[in-house]
């Protein structure tokens, strides 16, 4: 049975639903861009990616004796303004160098998110990062963490088996789950277990404890090289046959009693890994598991028997039918996002925003101004602050709570409810208010003088200029409500917002129209009512940000 395609109206609210779940929020510009396209056209574009952007560059420095920032005092082998990703750190490099590069990496990553193109790539990078996480602080290797992020980008809508294969041998993963220490004399089961439990088959699917141990033995012998001839090199995965378990690996009845023949020689690790992935992917549980992961991330936490039968199983079949296809994941996602189920009332608006969705959605919606690309240091500082803002709201990207990712994506039965509790609720609100009221500032003491002392604050008037009828107070409130909330807002609440804020307690709508038009015509107006317009909008948005409704999407 195939999944039922969506045949209903594809109007504004359907487009909003699709974009909110696949981008970070949905801006007036996004809606205008996709306006008039068919569902298939929109989904095609959302799954079409340009080439990867330029890598992170050095925009960090250390203070000299006179308290002046000097880039040659921190990571001196990399020139200011050039990328560090191809320059190995010295074997005895100070932790500050790794730290600076990791901050540069996350700032770069946040830049990709907040300046995302109109496609799903950034959401998918976080999806895969949640599915097969590595922890920046625990791996503490900037170059390996960059290549891992690149790997997730490259394969984000590609072939899942290829992705799993590459992740297994990626230095950051070998470090994170101890694969680099997994040797024949004393196998370390950490990666083998999570490969089966969290990455491919799922806990309780039927594999045994002996399978975990056999998988660990298949994976013995890989490690990471960071030196060659006494010189530092970029982290490089290498296979040492003498550390590999050369005996046969017996798997359980769940895998049809497969025996992976023990091999020796330089290709033994690669051959046995491929044999094991073939064995795993031949099991239907693998396709079901990964489809459930996709579903829980993008659609809805709880999967009931009907959804399992009518959504998960058909998509799992699509997944299996494309097991060797280079765009396997893209095909599955296309089927999901063009399905009747995805547009059903049963799931629309019924998810709590992740902190990344909440913060980046707000930054994009309110058209947060960002530093010019030439101002490297300013960009670095602002994007790094965004990283901490998402963390403050409850999601430390690059540092998930553990190898299972964030509980909101897997923990039965509460799922996305787990983003919200009595401690994260005020933090989430505060992060939104911070965007609206405070914005971002750069430090006064920078290496590049042009980056110093800059402010990047949301311009609420400029934001309303992106709407259709900002000078009409009734329509302005209607439009803001439409952009902010998925739940309906009653006319009486809208009237109160209009009167309390836009009309300053007055009755006549023309009060706002006159003030707004006067301000827009001349921001330096001396008309006192018009001078209040930016503040009024800031207060109005600040109020709307704090509604419970704003947490749903």
């Amino acid at each position: 049975m195939a999944i039922t395609p969506y045949t209903g109206t594809f109007g504004r609210s359907e487009l909003q639903h699709l974009l909110r779940r696949t981008l970070f929020g949905c801006t007036p510009g996004d809606l205008a861009h996709f306006n008039g396209m068919t569902l298939t056209q929109v989904v095609d574009e959302l799954l079409t990616f340009s080439n990867n952007t330029a890598p992170p560059v050095k925009a960090y420095s250390a203070l000299d004796g006179n308290n002046n920032p000097d880039p040659t005092l921190l990571d001196p082998n990399v020139l200011f303004g050039t990328t560090w990703v191809n320059t190995p750190r010295e074997a005895d490099a100070a932790a500050e160098v790794t730290q600076a590069r990791l901050e540069s990496l996350v700032a770069w990553w946040m830049g990709q998110c907040v300046e995302q193109e109109r496609n799903m790539r950034e959401k998918l990078v976080i999806f895969w990062h949640n599915h097969m996480p590595t922890h920046l602080g625990q791996v503490f290797n900037s170059e390996a963490s960059y290549t891992m992020n690149q790997l997730l980008r490259t394969h984000c809508a590609g072939n899942f088996r290829q992705l799993i294969h590459d992740v297994t041998l990626e230095p950051a993963m070998l470090y994170y789950l101890n694969g680099y220490l997994n040797v024949a004399s004393a196998p370390d089961e950490n990666y083998g277990r999570e490969l089966l439990e969290l990455f491919t088959l799922g806990q309780g699917s039927g594999y045994t404890e002996a399978d975990v141990q056999a998988a660990a033995r298949v994976l013995t012998g890989w490690t990471v090289l960071e030196q060659s001839g006494g010189n530092p090199i970029l982290p490089q995965t290498i296979f040492f046959p003498f550390n590999h378990t050369q005996t046969n690996k017996q798997f359980s009845a769940f895998f049809n009693n497969t025996v992976i023949l023990g091999q020796n020689g330089p290709d033994a690790g690669e051959n046995e890994l491929n044999a094991m992935l073939d064995m795993i992917f031949a099991n239907d549980e693998c396709s079901r598991f990964i489809v459930r992961e996709i579903y829980r991330f993008f659609v809805h936490g709880d999967i009931d028997a009907v959804t399992e039968a009518e959504v998960i199983e058909p998509l799992a079949e699509v997944f299996r039918n494309n097991v060797a296809a280079p765009d396997q994941v893209r095909t599955v996602l296309t089927a999901l996002f063009t399905s009747e189920h995805f547009f059903s009332a049963a799931i629309r608006g019924c998810m709590i925003k992740s902190p990344a969705d909440l913060v980046f959605g707000e930054l994009r919606l309110l058209a947060q101004p960002l530093p010019d690309p030439a101002l490297l240091e300013a960009r670095f500082q602002v994007m790094r602050d965004m990283y901490w803002l998402v963390d403050y709201a409850g999601q430390n990207l690059g540092a998930p709570p553990n190898v299972a990712g964030w509980p909101a994506y897997y923990l039965y039965p509460s799922y996305d409810d787990l983003w919200l509790d009595t401690s994260t609720f005020p933090a989430r609100n505060n992060s939104l208010l911070g965007i609206n009221y405070n914005g971002f500032t750069t430090s006064e003491n920078t290496y590049d003088a042009a980056s110093a002392n800059l402010q990047f604050k949301v311009d609420q008037v400029a934001f309303t200029q992106l709407l259709n009828n900002p000078s009409d107070p009734v329509m302005l409130i209607d439009e803001l409500v439409d952009h902010f909330y998925v739940n309906p807002i009653s006319q009486s609440v809208k009237d109160q917002l209009r009167q309390d804020y836009l009309l300053l307690g007055q009755q006549n709508n023309s009060y706002w129209t006159t003030a707004y038009n006067t301000y827009v015509a001349d921001p330096n107006t001396t008309n006192m009512a018009a001078q209040l317009v930016p503040d009024i909008l800031r207060w109005l948005i600040g109020d709307m940000q704090q509604a419970a409704e704003h947490h749903l999407f």
Binding site: L181, V183, D188, G204, N402, A404, T422, F425, A548
Partner: protein
């Protein structure tokens, strides 16, 4: 101009005009209400699976241990022997603080705690420990969530109220996970600090929720929002600086500083007069697959720092509650999702294992060691795990019966089966049952099941507010096994008969939903 800012700034919070409650203020302690003197449980969760063999070290097994885990083994001369155990058992050298508690008679060690058919997944095993499930059973409620539902069956309808103005449970420094959930209701509040962060008095977003999925989700967000507001007030008011007297807490960069910060808040809130029954704190990092110990000195390294942090924090907490004069009301308990493998690996670490010791601490524990040193088999291989001596639910059963003063039959209801209690806590000093009766009546009862226990049929009485009423019976696994009502009903009281003749004898949950209001009551079917 209405500028509605719900979020309090730091300065606004410190100006919050809430009366300070506590023992010293008789105005806030109604006569005969002794609930504020009731007992408190502090759960310390050790994430990652703690290596029990390097925590409570069986010195009589040293010969075998040095064969199977020599690279992580603590030199026997450095182990801290426990008085009264004939030199056979000792603590990791980093655990001076807990050794002091042992000497003070405030520590109970339960050996070999686990469950049949152990699961080696962090996530599944954590789930099992938090829900009290069997290895092959999926439960959607936590054991403490079910306990709190037993004590406060009307929660959250009509809460907070005079009998229970405070959160039933407080999680400090992490999310409320399944352990504190009951039938989709979170029975606990989560905080990081004691600052009151929300004031909803100007909120105008109060439209009725719609009768669809996004409406019920909105209802959930609003519940959290209201709890944040209300509980923020009482927590900030209770967090008196004078309610921390110990100078022993680790701080700054010292091991355990984060756990100590959480335990300090616990002491503060108990002393400040909260009626909260349960506090849940945690320490992360016990998944020591590699570099568990320092290669040059096995008494140092990651695990030593963790144990030192745990031990020093708990020692300081006990010092604090002693100085505050509340120690007889407070019991602590540690748990971790599993122990680690007997045989170490070559990464100076240990892989996932099975049974491990648990600690109970407090002035009312029955001090000593329950159970035996684990025995290391001569033929230990990579697969060999320590067998279980005590089911973890026997520990829970003891705590519920002897610390929370429950009848054994009620304990069995909460734990979904009978588990032999152990002698861990002195049962003397339970408050009289009127306190419990008061708790059970607190809040607004929308739903009653009578009789329960019942054999085939029972009567369900509920109060509708008008509109759609859904009344369903769920089994322990959270599956709806009967829908008794699913239609619009007039405002007022209604009764229906639940005929469950065909269902097996077990505990069922009757769940009532009427718009945004919901309530769950137990129903026990017997032969």
């Amino acid at each position: 101009m209405q500028r509605r800012n719900f979020i309090r700034s730091m300065s606004a919070a410190s100006l919050g005009g809430f009366a300070v409650r506590g023992f010293g203020n008789p105005l806030f302690a109604p006569l005969f209400d002794r609930a504020g003197e009731d007992r408190v449980l502090v759960i310390v969760q050790l994430y990652g699976g703690n290596d029990g063999l390097n925590t409570v070290i069986p010195l009589d097994q040293y010969g075998m241990l040095s064969q199977v885990r020599s690279n992580v083994l603590i030199p026997s001369a450095q182990v801290l022997p426990l008085q009264g155990l004939n030199g056979l058992t000792g603590l990791h050298p980093a655990m001076q603080g807990m050794r002091e508690l042992w000497d003070l008679g405030q520590l109970s060690i339960v050996q070999g705690v686990g469950y049949p058919n152990p699961d080696y997944s962090h996530f599944r095993s954590t789930d099992i420990w938090e829900t009290g499930a069997n290895s092959d059973q999926l439960l959607d409620s936590g054991w403490t969530g079910r306990y709190l539902n037993f004590e406060y069956p009307n929660y959250p309808t009509g809460y907070p109220n005079a009998t229970m103005p405070d959160p039933l449970a407080i999680r400090i420094g992490g999310p409320v996970t399944i352990g504190l959930q009951n039938m989709g209701v979170s029975m606990g509040a989560s905080i990081y600090t004691t600052e009151d962060s929300l004031d909803l008095s100007g909120n105008i977003f109060l439209d009725p929720v719609t009768a669809d999925c996004k409406g019920s989700k909105l209802d959930f967000v609003r519940t959290v929002q209201q709890q944040t507001d209300l509980y923020g007030n009482v927590i900030e008011a209770a967090a008196l600086p004078s309610c921390n007297l110990s100078t022993m807490y680790p701080t700054g960069g010292q091991p355990g500083a984060e756990l100590a910060r959480a335990l300090k808040i616990v002491a503060q809130l108990i002393c400040g007069g909260l009626k909260t029954r349960l506090y849940w704190v945690s320490l992360d990092g016990f998944d020591t697959h590699s570099q568990q110990v320092d290669g040059n000195d096995t008494t140092l390294g990651a695990h030593a720092l963790l144990l030192q942090g745990l031990s020093d924090s708990i020692r300081a907490f006990q010092d604090d509650v002693h100085l505050l004069g509340i120690e007889d009301r407070v019991l602590g308990m540690t748990f971790s999702e599993f122990g680690r493998r007997i045989k170490s690996n070559s990464s100076l670490g240990t892989d996932h294992g099975a049974a491990a010791p648990m600690f109970l601490f407090g002035s009312k524990v029955i001090p000593g060691m329950v159970g035996q040193n684990p025995e290391i088999p001569a033929d230990t291989t990579w697969n060999t795990n320590l067998p279980m001596q005590h089911d973890f639910r026997s520990v829970y059963s003891s705590v519920l019966r002897d610390w929370f003063c429950m009848e054994q039959a009620d304990v069995d209801t909460v734990l979904l089966d009978t588990y032999q209690p152990l002698a861990l806590v002195d049962p003397a000093g339970c408050l009289d049952t009127s306190v419990h009766q008061l708790n059970q009546q607190a809040g607004l009862s929308l739903l009653d099941v009578y009789p329960s226990p019942f054999v085939d049929r029972t009567t369900v009485r509920f109060t509708s507010d008008g509109g759609r009423v859904v009344l369903q019976v769920f089994n322990e696994q959270g599956q709806a096994v009967r829908t008794l009502v699913n239609r619009d009903m007039s405002t007022g009281q209604h009764t229906v008969t639940a005929d469950l003749e065909e269902l097996p004898p077990a505990i069922y949950y009757c769940r009532f939903q009427n718009g945004a209001r919901q309530q769950v009551k137990n129903m026990l079917k017997v032969r």
